[in-house]
C-alpha cells in the first residue's frame, strides 16, 4: 500500500502545476470560454513539447509511455485551473480509443501525430437521449457497399468537434447487432457542426453526418464490436473527469479558506464562526474522500483491470461531492462568489459538465448495484 505519489508522479505534478498556474491563468481560461476551439496554439504546442499530449501513448508510437494513474495526476492539476478544451478529447479519449481498437497501421499513423500535437480527435458517440449505453447508438448507421461504407446520422454532445481533425464516429452496424467505429476526417463533405450552448464554456456540438463515404481502412476495430472498446474508453473518461473534479475541489476549497480567513463581518474573520468552520470541515471531508476515490480508481484502471466497481464508485461519489463542495463554497462566499467577475463561479459552471460527462451519479450507482449483484 503506497498512497503517496511516485517520484515521477511528483515531478509531473510539480512541473504541470508550475506550468498551468503560470500559463492557464483565470484570464486565459475565461478567454477560452468564448474561443471556438478552447485552447491556444501556443499552449497546445507546449503540451506536445512537455509530452502531455502523448502521455499515455507508448514510446514506440512517439508518446511518453506513462500510465493512466500518472495521467490522473496531470488531470488533477488541469482541474485545479479549470482547464477544459481538446486535451481530454484527443489525449485521453482519442488516444485510448486508438490504442484499444486501432490496428497496427492506424496506430502508427495517428498516435505519433497526437503526441506531436498535429492531430486532434473528437469522439461522436451520443445521440439525442444522451446515455452512455450501447443502445444510445440507434439512428446513426453505416451501410456497407462495394467501395466501402456510407455513414449517416446526427450526433449530439460531441466534445471538441470544432478544430478536430478526425471524428471517431460510433454507428449502428448494418445487421444492427453491435456498433462500429469509423475514423472520419473532419474535412469530409457532408459534415455539419452546430454549437450547443454549454454553461461552462465547454465545446459541445451537434454534428450531422450525411452520406459520408468511407473506406474499409477507416473502420476502427472490428465491425459490430466497438462497444467493448467504448465501454473501456468511457471508464477512462469517467475517471479522467473524476480526477479533474478532485483537483478542482481542492482549488475551490483553498479559494474558500482564503476568503473566509480574510473576509470580516462583526469585526472578526467569518472563518472564526463555528457554523462557517463546520461548513469548511464538510468541504474538507468531501475533498479528502474525493481525492482518495479518484486516485484509487485511476490506479486500479492502470494496474488491475479496466472494468471494476471502484471506477463507478469514484465517478458517482466525486460527481456529487464536487457539486456539494461548490454549493458550500458559494454559501460561504456570499454574494461575491456568485458574480461573473469572481473566479469561483467558473468552477461551478464547468462542474456541471464534469459531473455529467461519461455518466452522472445515478448512472454509475446503477452500475454499482449491478456489480454488487443487488438483484
Amino acid at each position: 500500500m503506497d498512497l503517496g505519489l511516485s517520484e515521477i508522479q511528483k515531478m509531473l505534478q510539480e512541473s504541470s502545476r508550475d506550468y498551468l498556474l503560470e500559463n492557464c491563468t483565470m484570464d486565459y481560461i475565461r478567454a477560452m470560454e468564448s474561443d471556438q476551439i478552447g485552447i491556444s496554439d501556443e499552449i497546445w504546442k507546449n503540451m506536445a513539447d512537455m509530452g502531455w499530449l502523448g502521455l499515455m501513448i507508448p514510446e514506440i508510437y512517439g508518446g511518453s509511455g506513462f500510465n493512466f494513474d500518472d495521467m490522473s495526476i496531470l488531470l488533477e492539476e488541469m482541474g485545479k485551473v479549470a482547464l477544459s478544451g481538446p486535451f481530454f478529447s484527443t489525449s485521453v479519449i482519442g488516444a485510448q480509443t486508438l490504442l484499444l481498437s486501432g490496428d497496427e497501421s492506424q496506430k502508427k499513423e495517428f498516435l505519433p501525430k497526437i503526441a506531436s500535437g498535429n492531430l486532434k480527435f473528437s469522439l461522436a458517440f451520443n445521440e439525442k437521449t444522451g446515455s452512455f449505453e450501447e443502445s444510445e447508438v440507434s439512428t446513426t448507421t453505416s451501410i456497407k457497399n462495394d467501395e466501402g461504407w456510407t455513414l449517416n446520422g446526427e450526433k449530439y454532445f460531441v466534445n471538441d468537434a470544432v478544430g478536430a481533425d478526425y471524428f471517431i464516429v460510433a454507428s449502428a452496424s448494418e445487421n444492427n447487432e453491435g456498433i462500429s467505429l469509423f475514423l472520419v476526417p473532419s474535412k469530409s463533405d457532408g459534415i455539419e457542426i452546430e454549437k450547443m450552448e454549454a454553461i461552462g464554456g465547454d465545446k459541445i456540438s451537434k454534428v450531422n453526418f450525411q452520406e459520408i463515404k468511407l473506406l474499409d481502412s477507416q473502420l476502427l476495430g472490428k465491425e459490430g464490436e466497438a462497444w467493448k472498446t467504448l465501454s473501456k474508453v468511457f471508464n477512462y473518461g469517467a475517471i479522467g473527469k473524476t480526477s479533474e473534479m478532485s483537483g478542482a475541489a481542492q482549488r475551490v476549497m483553498d479559494m474558500t479558506l482564503n476568503y473566509i480567513k480574510d473576509r470580516k463581518q462583526f469585526d472578526r474573520p467569518i472563518g472564526s464562526f463555528q457554523a462557517v468552520q463546520h461548513h469548511a470541515a464538510d468541504m474538507a471531508i468531501l475533498t479528502k474522500v474525493s481525492t482518495q476515490f479518484s486516485r484509487k480508481a485511476a490506479w486500479e484502471i492502470s494496474n488491475k483491470d479496466n472494468s471494476n466497481i471502484n471506477i463507478h464508485r469514484a465517478k458517482s461519489y466525486v460527481s456529487k461531492a464536487f457539486h456539494d463542495v461548490c454549493q458550500i463554497s458559494h454559501q460561504l462566499h456570499g454574494a461575491i462568489g456568485y458574480t461573473w467577475d469572481y473566479d469561483l463561479q467558473v468552477f461551478t459552471r464547468k462542474m456541471q459538465h464534469q459531473k455529467l460527462a461519461y455518466g452522472d451519479t445515478d448512472f454509475h450507482q446503477k452500475k454499482i448495484s449491478n456489480l454488487l449483484n443487488l438483484k
Binding site: N126, T129, G130, S131, E133, S135, E136, Y156, F157, M196, E197, A198, I199, G200, D202, I204, K206, K264, Q265, F266, D267, I270, F273, A275, V276, Q327, H330, Q331, G334, A335, Y338, T339, W340, D341, Q345, T348, R349, Q352, H353, L356, D360, D362
Partner: protein, 399 residues
Amino acid sequence: MKYKFNKEDELFRQELRSWIRNEIPGDFNTWQGIDEAGEDFEYSLEIRRKLAKKGWLTMAWPKEYGGQGASYMKQVIFNEEMSYHRMPGRDGFGAKMLGPTLMVHGSEEQQKTFLPPIANGEVQWCQGYSEPDSGSDLASLKLKVVDKGDHWLVNGTKVWTSMAHKASGIFFLGRTDTDAPKHKGISFFLANIKDSNIEVKPIINMAGRHHFNQVIFENVKLPKDALIGELNKGWYIAATLLDFERSGVEYPATARRNFEELVEFVKNKKNSLGIPLINDPYINKTLVDLDLEIEAAKLVAYEVAYLQSQGEVPSIEGSVAKILGTQLAQKVAKIGTDFSGLFGQISDSSAPFDGKYLNPQLDVTAYTIFAGTTEIQKNIIATRGLGLPREDKLKTRSK
C-alpha cells in the same frame, strides 16, 4: 382550527386567476414568465399599472392611503397566484417596502409626493442597504451622509442593489453619526438615482444575467427633506416594516408550478430503453420528496400570514419560511437540471424546458445568501426564537 380559505377569499382567488390567465400573452401552459430586471422591464411596468387599476397593487395599504386594507390571507392568495402563474408586475420595493415606511415615518409632504406614483404603478424604486464590507453585518455600514446645513452630502458605495439600473429612485441607509454605537448612527434617505453624481455599475451574475448593481455616491447633494423620519433612527425604521404580508409563500407557489411542469416532462420523456422517466423509481421518489418540501414551505408561509392576521409578530416562523423557501427554490432548479441528463449543461433551446432550469440553478445560488443567509436565519431562530444565549453577550469566557 380551519385549514381552508373562506368563501370571499376563494372568490378573490378565482377572479384573480381568470384575470391573470387572460393577461398572459399566449398559452398559459407554455408561459415561462419574463425577466423583469432585463428587457421585459417595460412590460412588467405595464402589468403593474394594470394591477394598480384593479386596486391589487396596493390592496394591503390602509384605505386612507388609497388601499383596501386587505387581510393578510388575501395577500397570501395574491402572492401565491401571481407566483404560481409566473406573472410579473408586483412592486416589492415601492408598494411593499417604501410605501408603508412613508405612511409611518414620512412627513405629509413626503407622503403626498411619493405615495401616489407608487400606488399608480408608475415608478420603480430600489433599496440601498448592503455595502461591500457590510453584508451579514449590515449595521456596520459606512456610506457617509454629512449635514451641510442646507443639504446632505453623501459619499460611499452600495452593492447588490437589484433593479438599480431600472429604477428612478433609491431609498437607502447612510451613516449620520460615526461616534454612536453602530445601530444608532444610521438614517434613512431617499434619492433620485439619476443624479449625475450617482453611478450605477452593473454586476453580472454567474448565469450571465444583470440583476444586481453597485451604486456609487460621489459627493451627492440631497435636499434636507430627503431624510425620512428621525435622524439616526434609520436602522429601526428599516427594521420595522411589518405592514405587508411577508410569508414567503412565493417560494412554494413557484415550486408547485415547476413541480407540475417537471411531472409532465418525466411522464413524456423516455430513456434510451423507451421507458418514461417517471417510472425510474429514483425520479419518482425525488418528486415525492419535493412535494413534501413544497407543502412544508407552504404550511409555514400560511402560518406566518395567519400570525400576522392575528396581530402577532411571527417569532421563528419568518426565518423558517425563508430557510425552507430558498432551499426549495434551489432544489427545484437542481432537480430540473438533473432530470435533463446530459442536457443538464446545455442552456440553449435544444435542452428540455429550453434549458430554463439551468440558469436558475445558477441564479438561485444566491437565494440562501441574500436578505439574511440561512446561517443568519438560524442564528435568529436560536437566539430570538428559542432564547438561546447570544454568543456576543456572554460574560465569562474561557482562557
